[in-house]
């Protein structure tokens, strides 16, 4: 049976400032969803909150997979339950080799009950698998010996995120602006790679401003966020409209949320602290 990721009435704050104000979302394994919205609408916040970033406090609501609440779980437990976030800005970890890091990660995700210090998946098996995934993605073998994201170009970092996705094969993958900062060729590469990885066992939530990533990965559903809520949902046509006309139409249809968005933007510009809801 396919798994279900469910977000219900989610309120999330950062430093006492409410960013998400009642988000609902349901994603079933095997589906592709697009999550769109202007800057500051809460897309990345939702992604981080789903993964359990310590700075993002769940004030109300529920995140669950197949009825099991994730609210109190550490990020590593969430990853072991099949959640994955491809970072918009992947973090550099000097001195940690890509292969060593991935061997730990893969072992933990495939054996969710593994205790610290217990054995890793066999080296030979792991190497063979890593090599074939890297070949498929057109990543040079030398990458495995480099330090994680250390000295990587923007494009290389994004490829590394896709390689991790390919190795970890999560049930639910969130791609946070994986297309940002890439030239057209690189976007096309990433887009094709994702479409190869997608399938009945993996749901993909694509956070993007652009339509290009969605060309090869046609979403069943597009969610539009504004001021910390999902204000509209629609099929691929909605994503297309947003791409052509921007968010003006969305703002017109949701004046209350648009006003909140304005307020928050003004507060940020004036560096005024915004009171919590």
């Amino acid at each position: 049976m396919s798994s279900l990721l469910k977000v219900e009435n989610l309120y999330v704050s950062i430093d006492d400032k409410m960013i998400l104000k009642g988000v609902d979302l349901e994603v079933r394994q095997g589906e592709i969803h697009a999550l769109m919205g202007p800057n500051g609408s809460g897309k990345s916040t939702l992604a981080y909150a789903l993964m359990g970033h310590p700075k993002y406090e769940i004030v109300d609501g529920q995140i669950s997979i197949d009825g099991v609440s994730l609210n109190e779980l550490e990020p590593d437990s969430r990853a072991r339950m099949g959640l994955f976030l491809a970072f918009q800005y992947p973090v550099t970890v000097p001195g940690v080799k890509v292969a060593d890091f991935l061997r730990h990660a893969v072992t933990n995700v495939r054996n969710p009950n593994r205790k610290e210090g217990e054995g890793l998946i066999p080296m030979r098996e792991f190497r063979a698998e890593l090599k074939s995934r890297m070949d498929e993605l057109g990543i040079e073998a030398e990458f495995a010996r480099r330090y994680l994201n250390d000295g990587f170009s923007g494009g290389e970092k994004k490829r590394m995120e896709i390689l991790q996705l390919a190795m970890l094969r999560p049930k639910f993958a969130i791609l946070d602006e994986t297309d940002s900062g890439l030239d057209s060729d690189a976007v096309r590469f990433v887009s094709e790679a994702i479409s190869r990885l997608a399938g009945p066992d993996m749901a993909i939530i694509i956070i993007t401003h652009h339509e290009r990533l969605l060309e090869f990965n046609r979403p069943q559903l597009t969610h539009v966020m504004l001021a910390g809520r999902v204000v509209e949902r629609g099929e691929a046509a909605l994503a297309h409209e947003l791409h052509d006309q921007g968010y003006a139409g969305v703002r017109l249809r949701h004046p209350e949320a648009a006003a909140e968005e304005q307020e928050a933007a003004a507060a940020l510009a004036g560096k005024q602290p915004v009171l919590a809801k």
Binding site: R80, V91, G95, F101, V109, Y147, L168
Partner: protein, 444 residues
């Protein structure tokens, strides 16, 4: 009470319990050559004098000895029961020879017969001084000066035990040698002396480990290391300091590198309650080079202090020092580094760098690089960084199913990686990695 400072300075920081009676009672006294007895007497006289001279305030202001009571420690007689050490290194490689000491007494000594046949000496200092006195006389306490300071004089007067390695001209030892300096019984003072002599063109690797049998027996080590690397010789020396956290460790360690010779010296600082070590390399002949690696991990209330000096005495010499420190809890680390270039030591290349990674809010590192250059055609550079573990790194790794503990471990290992990359001996890399892992297991 307003004169607290006056009270504490009036009391010598290192004193008592090590008097003439103790000197005469030294267990090796009866068998050693006359010249060593004279060396001890001279050093003892210097020690007495230096006890009355105030300690260098610049050096000792960062190293707090107020809780140190030398009178609680004494030189031990040989034990009748065997001691068991949880050594990190000993089982990890095939060694060409092993020398072990417990409480200042040599308990094991072996060397591959083919090396002995080539004239290699490897054993305890007591018997080698007795058997090969003429060879060692001019070397012992030659670069660590018996009147250098209070600690050096104290060591020279009471020296007991320690490992000696002598490799004759052009003899190359491929497999590493292993030396263990162990402390067993509570209150023991260890004055072991490591002496390595490589004649012209010789090559060797010595891995030395210091360890305690228990986690809580107080101990004292007043040690010295002398590494004499002859012309064109190559020495790799590793000292892994892994005492328990109730041991005081005071030492002078000097490596002298002759013309076209090279020394790779790696220090692992894991244990001790307080360690204060002078580590000097002397680039004594043209073409000499030294690489110094330091890898320390201090936790709880440990205090580890390293005063390093790279002295370029000859032209066309090279030194490269890299110390990496990890601190946690209320631990303190001091690194005071100095590159000295003598007049005339032109075309030298000196480098020193110290990086620190702070894992807690209450730990503290003092990192003080320095240069003293008296030549005008040299390249000397230094650098120092200190930073905290980046929570974004921890989060990123955790998002891939890696626990916080494993993430911290990876980040710390990653931080040490540049040092591991420089160490050619697999057993040492493994050992340092294991030691780090064990330490991370405490309180995380």
């Amino acid at each position: 009470m307003t004169t607290v400072t006056a009270t504490s300075t009036a009391r010598p920081a290192v004193a008592t319990g090590f008097d003439e009676v103790a000197l005469a009672a030294n267990p090796t006294r009866g068998i050693e050559p006359v010249w060593l007895g004279e060396l001890r007497q001279t050093a003892f006289a210097a020690y007495q004098k230096l006890l009355k001279t105030p300690l260098d305030p610049e050096e000792w202001k960062r190293v707090d000895l107020r809780a140190f009571q030398p009178s609680k420690f004494k030189i031990a007689a040989a034990s009748t029961t065997p001691a068991q050490f949880k050594t990190l290194l000993e089982s990890r490689a095939q060694f060409a020879g092993v020398v072990s000491h417990v409480d200042g007494h040599r308990v094991e000594s072996r060397l591959a017969p083919e090396l002995a046949a080539k004239g290699v000496l490897f054993g305890g200092i007591g018997e080698l001084v007795a058997q090969h006195g003429e060879l060692l006389k001019s070397k012992l306490m030659s670069v660590v000066k018996p009147d250098g300071d209070r600690i050096a004089a104290w060591h020279a007067a009471f020296m007991t035990g320690g490992t000696v390695l002598y490799v004759p001209r052009n003899v190359v030892i491929e497999a590493p040698l292993y030396s263990l300096i162990g402390l067993d019984r509570s209150g023991t003072a260890d004055f072991s002396h490591t002496l390595v002599i490589l004649d012209e063109g010789a090559q060797a690797t010595l891995l030395e480990e210091t360890a305690s049998t228990t986690d809580n027996a107080p101990g004292l080590h007043v040690g010295a290391v002398e590494l004499l690397v002859g012309q064109g010789a190559r020495l790799r020396y590793v000292q892994l300091q892994n005492w328990n956290q109730h041991t005081w460790h005071l030492a002078h360690q000097v490596g002298r590198v002759a013309r076209d010779a090279s020394l790779q010296w790696t220090v692992g600082g894991i244990g001790a309650r307080l360690a204060h070590i002078h580590q000097d390399v002397l680039l004594a002949g043209p073409g000499a080079s030294a690489e110094v690696n330091g890898c320390t991990f201090a936790t709880d209330r440990q205090m580890l202090s390293y005063y390093t000096q790279q002295t370029h005495q000859a032209p066309h010499t090279r030194s490269d020092l890299l110390y990496k420190d990890v601190l946690r809890d209320q631990a303190r680390v001091v690194w005071r580094g100095m590159i000295r270039v003598d007049p005339g030591a032109q075309q030298t290349d000196g480098y020193q760098r110290n990086d620190s990674l702070l894992l807690s809010a209450d730990c503290r590192v003092d990192s003080i690089p320095g240069l003293e250059i008296e030549a005008d055609d040299v390249r000397c550079t230094h650098g120092s960084t200190a930073g905290r573990v980046d929570e974004d790194q921890v989060f990123y790794l955790m998002c891939r199913g890696i626990s916080r503990y494993e993430a911290m471990h990876m980040i710390v290992e990653g931080f040490f990686h540049r040092i591991y990359d420089r160490i050619a001996v697999e057993a040492v890399r493994e050992t340092l990695s294991l030691a780090v892992e064990r330490k991370l297991g405490i309180g995380v």
